[in-house]
């Protein structure tokens, strides 16, 4: 039998129920003034102020050891905070990547010094991270990475170019995936990860890449003989491939993989209030059923993470199915409401629809393309 197991998530504990209510109140208090259009930026909104408030209230680094500024709470408690943030359209960009993947990677592979200097600051909401994986000639084919780091005494000298780094112009660090020996022909061998300080690395220049919505999230990071302290090596030299796969598993595991367009669902419901047809009810019913099931699968992944199981395959399934849901939403909305989207208006429906239509194509590209994910799932089924 080849079914890929998704364990039933446990019922919400009293702590989880209390936390959800407490966190909803926190969001209302911090962000209650924001417009639907602002909320629809979802996880690509960036606010240092909000991330600091999250840190101060104890909502970052939730599952990490207390000695590193964490709160030793369960994977489910973190899940509640993450999903409620997304459902509220909170501007999580200044802590998102650090809390989700960079911090856990540092816990798993970092030196004691790296843990002690970086993790408490992430947990306080002070440090924003970007992702340093893709390159102009190495996107889905990550093993073709060319960016080279050559050891030079207490330094690595880094040369190469990384692209699609969200918030590199605002963030403090990236974990750079690079080659410390050999050539791209060596594939997985000879790769490593370095912690790069974006504000203090001579030889690093950051240039914007403007997306089709006219927004500046992406950047190109160009390293020209850039000096990175050797003590910033993350994990073991040459072990970069395993580490980056582990980082991607953290990246793919969360509910952001189906909640990106949730604000459009709210605005669609608002538009249909009082003039709902059979078609509207049926469509909303089906979308809600799909969403409820995605959420359950995502909570299964949280259950696996809580039990320290490898959930990479399950996470790939949730992301693959979830991206379809969040991407199809604007098209479904268009079957129920005639409205022209407008990217510059503050009107709720037209503005939110525009933001979602513009951004939806990226959701099956980020964090592993649909094609890569389906390859991972197929391998999990034993086909290759």
């Amino acid at each position: 039998m080849t079914n890929i197991p998704f364990p039933s998530p446990p019922a919400d504990s009293a702590e989880v129920i209390a936390l959800r209510a407490e966190f909803r109140a926190f969001l209302d208090q911090q962000l209650g003034h924001r417009t639907p259009r602002q909320r629809s930026d979802n996880w690509y909104g960036f606010s240092r102020e909000f991330s600091l408030a999250m840190g101060q209230a104890g909502y970052l680094g939730m599952t990490w050891p207390k000695q590193y500024g964490g709160h030793e709470r369960t994977a489910f408690e973190r899940y509640v905070v993450v999903e409620e943030s997304l459902a509220y359209g909170a501007p999580v960009g200044a802590h998102w990547i650090a809390d989700r993947q960079s911090g856990p990677s540092i816990i798993k592979f970092g030196t004691e010094e790296q843990r002690e200097t970086i993790l408490p600051r992430i947990a306080k909401g002070e440090l924003a991270f970007g992702i340093g994986m893709s390159e102009p000639d190495s996107g889905s084919d990550l093993a073709a990475t060319r960016t080279k780091a050559v050891r030079d005494g207490d330094l690595y000298r880094v040369t190469g170019t990384k692209v699609w780094t969200s918030f590199a112009h605002e963030a403090d660090y990236v974990i750079l995936f690079c080659r410390t020996s050999g050539t791209p022909a060596d594939r997985h061998q000879g790769t490593s990860q370095l912690l790069v300080d974006l504000k203090n690395t001579p030889g690093l220049t950051i240039k914007p890449i403007i997306d089709l919505a006219g927004q500046h999230h992406f950047n190109e990071m160009h390293f020209e003989d850039a000096a990175v302290p050797a003590k910033n090596l993350l994990g073991a030299e040459g072990d970069g491939w395993n580490q980056v796969m582990s980082e991607l598993a953290f990246e793919r595991s969360g509910p952001e993989r189906f909640l990106s367009s949730i604000e459009l669902m709210y605005q669609l419901i608002a538009m249909l209030q009082g003039k709902d047809s059979d078609a509207a009810q049926i469509t909303l019913g089906r979308l809600t059923a799909q969403l409820a099931v995605l959420r359950r699968l995502s909570r299964s992944v949280a259950a696996m993470l809580q039990d320290k199981q490898d959930a990479g395959l399950q996470a790939a399934i949730v992301k693959d199915v979830g991206a379809v849901w969040e991407q199809v939403l604007p098209d479904v909305a268009r079957t129920l409401v005639d409205a022209e989207a407008d990217p510059l208006t503050q009107k709720a429906y037209a503005g939110v629809l525009a933001n979602i239509v513009h951004n939806a194509p990226s959701w099956s590209l980020r964090g592993g393309t649909r094609e890569i994910l389906r390859g991972i799932i197929a391998r999990g089924l034993g086909t290759r």
């Binding site: 608002a270 909303l284 969403l291």
Partner: protein, 329 residues
């Protein structure tokens, strides 16, 4: 444990010939006798009710297995009907049982009358757990006659029954029979999709075209990945419906049931396409599952009924209440 017993029973007693007989509308008394011998009709009852006291996971596994083997008898319905009858304090079925709602039926001078459409194996049942309004009736076999023959897409009988019965067994309705039926169907759909995925993996591993097994083609691998996704969603959907039924939450049943109904069509389509023409024949086992999926996805309230129920709830919740509603499902 129970799962192993069911597997053994079906390996021994459910072969292609038995499936063919059922497809001709023939009741399989010897298989039913084995089902009763095992105590399966009481499997969903608590121990105090005389059942197995199964855990939620064990009950789900048993129901999925019925789908995984395309069980050609109304075992799942009987399990759910007995659970409903027991919860209402009515006598259990003495054979196979059906589940139905009949709000259009009339009660006059202590007699229940009217036509009940498309009851699975209606002529072979011992009794019906039949809801009319807020009342549950336990209608015995003597309470109905055949009104009109009917056939499901998997060729099992779905007759219309003419009910004419002097009421002597009724109780307040504990929960809707359609919700109970929709929930067991969701588990059966999950089981049938497991079978579809297994058969499709096997076929695409062994079938060689252009000098290589089909599943060495990336386009085939991606279809298999989609099928695995539909299966994952359905397994979760059935569990969601099962938990919701236990707390008598119709919206949760709607959510789980709807997603399973949708996956039945999506999954059957992928499995058939990946099999090529052989999947379109009765020579290959796949049709047992695809025709059952197409049958089950439309039963116990259709997609429209359940989608409207959940869609209305979404509209009532409104812009601000929608997310809290989703987290309550």
């Amino acid at each position: 444990m129970l799962a192993e017993m069911i597997e053994r029973l079906l390996d021994r007693h459910l072969d292609e010939a038995a499936q063919a007989r059922a497809r001709n509308g023939e009741w399989l008394p010897e298989l039913w006798a084995e089902v009763e011998e095992m105590g399966l009709p009481l499997a969903l009852l608590s121990e105090e009710q005389g059942g197995f006291g199964l855990s939620f996971a064990e009950a789900g596994e048993a129901l999925r297995l019925l789908g995984r083997h395309a069980m050609p008898l109304p075992v799942a319905e009987t399990m759910a009907a007995n659970q409903l009858l027991a919860n209402a304090g009515l006598a259990l079925a003495e054979g196979a049982a059906g589940l139905a709602r009949g709000d259009h039926l009339t009660v006059t001078q202590g007699t229940l009358k009217g036509t009940l459409e498309r009851v699975a194996w209606g002529e072979n049942l011992d009794c019906l757990a039949l809801a009319v309004g807020d009342t549950l009736y336990r209608v015995p076999r003597s309470g109905w006659s055949l009104a009109e023959a009917g056939t499901a897409l998997n060729f099992h009988p779905r007759p219309a029954l003419a009910i004419d019965w002097t009421i002597n067994a009724s109780a307040p309705l504990p929960y809707c029979p359609l919700a109970a039926g929709a929930t067991v169907r969701a588990f059966q759909i999950a089981g049938a999709l497991e079978a579809c995925l297994d058969l499709t993996l096997e076929h695409t591993a062994t079938r060689v075209q252009f000098g290589k097994p089909l599943q060495k083609n990336q386009v085939v691998q991606h279809e298999l990945a989609k099928l695995a996704g539909e299966l994952a969603c359905t397994t979760a959907a059935a569990d969601l419906a099962g938990e919701a039924l236990a707390r008598r939450d119709l919206r949760g049943v709607a959510a789980g049931s709807l997603r399973a109904r949708e996956a039945a069509g999506n999954g059957a389509a992928i499995a058939t396409q990946m099999h090529g023409a052989i999947g379109f024949t009765r020579e290959h086992r796949l049709h047992l599952f695809t025709t059952s999926l197409w049958t089950w996805r439309d039963e116990f309230g259709g997609q429209v009924m359940w989608a409207k129920l959940l869609g209305q709830a979404a509209l009532e919740a409104g812009e601000a209440g929608y997310w809290p509603m989703v987290t309550s499902l």
